[in-house]
Subunit: 119 residues, 2 copies
């Protein structure tokens, strides 16, 4: 696993439209006890994070997340920025996430910050 | 404590030229078991962090740290960016730090990332 592949797996998880696909990505790339917190949402465990992502996605139909720039990291810490936008449309939100991964490369915890709040 | 005052105390600690001043700031604003890690340095406990800062400062005589923009945060998580520059001179390094604070507002751990590596 590289920091780039961890960031890519993270964005893929948020972009998974089907629950089964999301669950498979969570099982592959996130620790069973993973936690997530940002200024407006939080979730714990794969099921909690799956539910949180489903709720967030329902608020932004037709939108998807993309990495903004490159991920970087050191040790078990990864940092990357992202944007949320509708297909071909202007960015509606952007943020920077700080991720800690376990020895197996799975995401253990995420602390997210918003650089542009969803309107 | 606000996120801004935590960030200010953090930068003050890095800028303290005298060991006694640095130790006083660490005692006031950092947890006894605080930890710090970035891509090139790490330190644990107030003494370990004091020693790490002293070594870093010795590499950049006449330089000081300043906040770059505003700190933000949510819950016990704080984020801010900084620049390192000589008095009146060009920035030699910049970074973004992610800080977790305890219930008493003291800094518990810091994960730093470099946005511009010291040359």
């Amino acid at each position: 696993m590289t920091y780039e592949t961890i960031a890519a797996a993270y964005v893929d998880t948020w972009n998974a439209a089907a629950a089964a696909e999301r669950d498979a990505l969570l099982a592959s790339h996130w620790d069973a006890d993973a936690s997530y917190v940002d200024p407006i949402m939080s979730g714990s465990g794969r099921d909690g994070i799956a539910a949180m992502i489903a709720i967030a996605r329902a608020k932004f139909p037709g939108h998807s997340f993309a990495l903004d720039g490159k991920a970087d990291g050191h040790g078990d810490h990864v940092r990357f920025s992202w944007v949320l936008a509708p297909d071909g449309g202007a960015t509606v939100a952007r943020g920077t996430d700080f991720v800690r991964v376990g020895a197996d490369g799975r995401i253990v915890d995420v602390v997210g910050f918003l650089d542009k709040m969803p309107g």
